[in-house]
Symmetry: D3
Subunit: 162 residues, 6 copies
C-alpha cells in the first residue's frame, strides 16, 4: 500500500515552479494527484479544460502523477478519493500566511485531512502565475518562467508577440 | 468614571473571532462600542442594517457592550462620541501590517486617539470573514466559524444548503 | 561619467513618501529619472499626464531629477535609456516581498539591470497612495500625507471638501 | 473606578521609545504601573535599582504613572496588584511574534489577564535597548535615542566618551 | 511498501506541540522516526538520553512511531536509514524562515532528501521549549505546555516547585 | 567623478552569497570598498586579518573593488572616506528587519549617509555564515556554499575533514 497525496491549485497557468513542486511531491509520495480547481473565487484566464491540458502536457509523463479537475471544496474531493494528504507549496511569507489560513480552515472542516508543505527550488521561489500574466501582457519574454507549450498558449490568449 | 473604547469594523459577517475579541475588550475596558462601518471601500455582502443586527444577536447581551453603525472616518466618529481608544484585533502578520498602517494613518489624522490591539484566542487566529464567505459559497459547513444565526443568514444570502 | 538610476512607479498620486525617496535617490546617484508607468495592471485614479504633472510640481526643482513616463516593461525602458539601476522604496514587510518578487522577475528578464532599495524616512513608512485615496474619499484632511497641490487635485477628482 | 494597566519590561536602559509608550499608556488608561523586571533570562547591563531610577527620572513626573520592580512571573505580579491589563509595545514584525508568543503563554497561565498592544511613534519604531548598547560601545552619540540622564549613565557604565 | 519519514529535533524538552506534530506525521506517513539530535549548537538542558526517554514516555505508544537519537548531520542519518523525507513543524513566521533556510541548506547538501512541513494545532502554535524553560524557571505552572512526566523532570532539573 | 559605495560586514567567513553581492555592487557603483568590521558584538571565528585575506582571495580581482578593515562605527568610517552610500544585502524577512533597524540607526547618527539594499541571487538567498559554520562543524561538505580557499581555512580552523 502506498501513500497518496493531492496537490490542488488553480494552475492559471502552470509554471516551472508548479512543475518543480509536482516532481518533489512525486518523490516524497507514492501517488500524486494534481487537482485543478474548477470553481475559484478568482476569475481565471484559462478555462478548466485548458488548465488541465497544460498541466498534462508538462507533467503528464511523470509515472506516479495523475492530473484531474475538481469542483467545490478540496476536502470534499479528497474525502471522495480517500486521500488524506494535501500538498501545498511555500514560496514566501505572505504565501505562508494565506496557506496556513487555508490549511487551518480545511483542518477545521475535516480534521482527518492533513496539509503538508513543500518548498520549491530557490530559483522558482519568486514565480507566480499572476505576475507572469502581468508581464506577459507587457510583451515580456516569459520562456524562463513557463514551458514553451504554456508560453505559446499565453501569447495566443493575450494576443501578444513574445 | 470609566474607560470607553470603540471596536470598529465591517463585520461582514461577524465571526467567532470577532465575538472573542468583543468579550476581551469588554473585559479590559469599562464600556465598549462595537461600531459597524457603513461606508467601506470593499463591497459588503450584507448591508449595514444586517451587519448591525447580526452583531447585536451574538454580542448584544454582554452588559457593557453597545452596537452602533457609523459613516465616514472612524476618528471623526470617535471624536463625536468623546472616546479616545480604538480597539483592533491582531490575527496574523499581514493583518498586523495593514492594522499598523491604518492606525498610524488615524494617529496622523488625530493624535489624540490611540489604537490598542488585542489578540484573539489562538483557535480563532485564522478566521476571516472573507475566507468564510469563500468556503460558504462552496457549500462548506461553516458552523464552527460563525454562530448559527449568522450561518443561517449566510445560507439565505448565498443560496447554499449547509 | 556619473551614475544614473530610474525610480519607476505609478505615483497615483505622488506622496510625501515618494518625495522623500526621490530626494534620497538624488543624493545617492548622480542622475535620477522618475518614471511614471503608463500601463499598469491597476486602474489609476489620475491619468498618466496628471501623474507626471504632479510629480513635476513637487520634485521638478531638484537639480539632478527628471520626470518622464514610460509604457510597457520597465526593463525595456531602462535598456532604451542605457541605465542599469532601478530604485524602489521599502516600506513594510509585504512591500518588501512584492518588491523582491518584482525585482527577481525583472532580473530574470534582464540580468544586466540591478534593483536597489532605499528606505523612506520613518515618518513616511506607513504612507500608501491607496490608503490616502481611501481616507480622502471619506473627507479626511490629507495635507500631512501629500503636498497641497496634490491635495487640491485629489479633492477636485473625488469631489470632496477637505 | 479607573482602569489600571501594567507596562512590564527590562528597560535596560529606558529609551525614548519606552517613554513614548508610557505616555500613550497613560493617555489610554487611568493608572499605569511601569514594572521593571528583576529576574530576566537576559543578563542586564544595569541592575534593577538603576533601571528603576532611570525610568523614574524620565517618566516619574507623569501624573498617573508609577514605577516599580517585580520578581518572578509578570502574571503573578499582576494578580497580586489586582490589575488585569498588561501593556506591550509593537515595534516590528519579529517583535510582534515574540510578543504574541509571550502574551499567549501568559494568557494560558492566567486567562483573566489581557495583554493590549500599543504602537510607538514611527520615529521610535526602530529603537531597541540592545542596539543602543551596541552603538554606545562603539562611541556613538546616543543622545537622540535616550534622554541625557540615561546617556550619562551609559557612558559611565561603558567607559565611553560621547 | 510504506512511506517513512524522520522528524528530527532537539526536544529539550518535548512539548505538547511536538506530540501534536508526531501524531500528525504518524497520520500522514506509514512509519515515523522521531530523531533526537545529540550534537546541537545550542546547549541543551537535558542530555540526549533524557531527551530520548521523555519522547518515548509521551509518544512511544503510537504504533508507527519509533524514537532514536543521532549524531552529526541529519541528512547523513537519513541517508543511512534510507529515508528520504524529513518532517518539520511550522509555528510562526520566524520559525518559517529558519526552517526554510535549514531545509534549503539540507537540500543543497543532499538533493535527494525532501523536507515536508506540517502545521501544529493552533492551540500549540505559540509553544516553544525555550519559552517553557524560561517560565518554568520563574516557578510557572507548566502543566498545560508539557505532559506531567516532562513537567516533573523539569522541576527536578531546575529545582523549582510547580 | 564616480559613485563610491561601502559594503560593510563581518564576513566570518565570506560566502558565495557575499561574493554575488560584491559583484552586483561593483556593477551598480563605480567604486566599491568591502569593509571588514574589526570590532563586532559577535565573537568571530576568524580574526580580522584572516577575514580580510579571505575576501581579497575571492573578490580581490574585481577591478573596481577594494578590501579594507575598519574599527568602530561604520558611519564614522564612511565619513572619513567621504563616501555617502552603504550597501547591504537583503536575504530574508528577519534579515530585512535587522537591516532596516541598523540602517535607521545609522541614518539617525548621520543623516548624510544613505543605505542602499541589493538582493543576492535566489540561489544564495538562504546562505548565512552562521549556518555554514554550524554544518561545517558537523563535517558537512560546504564546497557549494563557500569557495575552496575558504572551505580549506574552515576545515583547518574547525579541525574537520571535509
Amino acid at each position: 500500500m502506498g501513500r497518496s497525496a493531492i496537490y490542488p491549485g488553480s494552475f492559471d497557468p502552470v509554471t516551472y515552479g508548479h512543475i518543480d513542486l509536482i516532481k518533489r511531491a512525486a518523490h516524497a509520495f507514492d501517488d500524486v494527484v494534481v487537482a485543478v480547481a474548477e470553481s475559484t473565487h478568482k476569475n481565471t484566464l484559462f478555462n478548466t479544460q485548458e488548465r488541465v491540458e497544460m498541466v498534462k502536457e508538462v507533467a503528464g509523463d511523470i509515472g506516479n502523477v495523475r492530473v484531474e479537475s475538481f469542483d467545490g471544496l478540496v476536502i470534499d474531493y479528497a474525502r471522495a478519493k480517500k486521500i488524506n494528504v494535501l500538498i501545498r507549496g511555500l514560496r514566501m511569507i505572505s504565501d505562508f500566511e494565506y496557506e496556513l489560513q487555508m490549511a487551518l480552515t480545511n483542518r477545521r472542516l475535516d480534521g482527518n485531512i492533513e496539509t503538508v508543505f513543500l518548498m520549491p527550488s530557490e530559483g522558482y521561489s519568486f514565480l507566480s502565475s499572476k505576475l507572469i500574466k502581468e508581464v506577459a501582457l507587457l510583451d515580456a519574454d516569459i520562456t524562463s518562467f513557463v514551458p514553451d507549450s504554456v508560453a505559446k498558449r499565453l501569447r495566443e490568449k493575450l494576443g501578444t508577440k513574445k
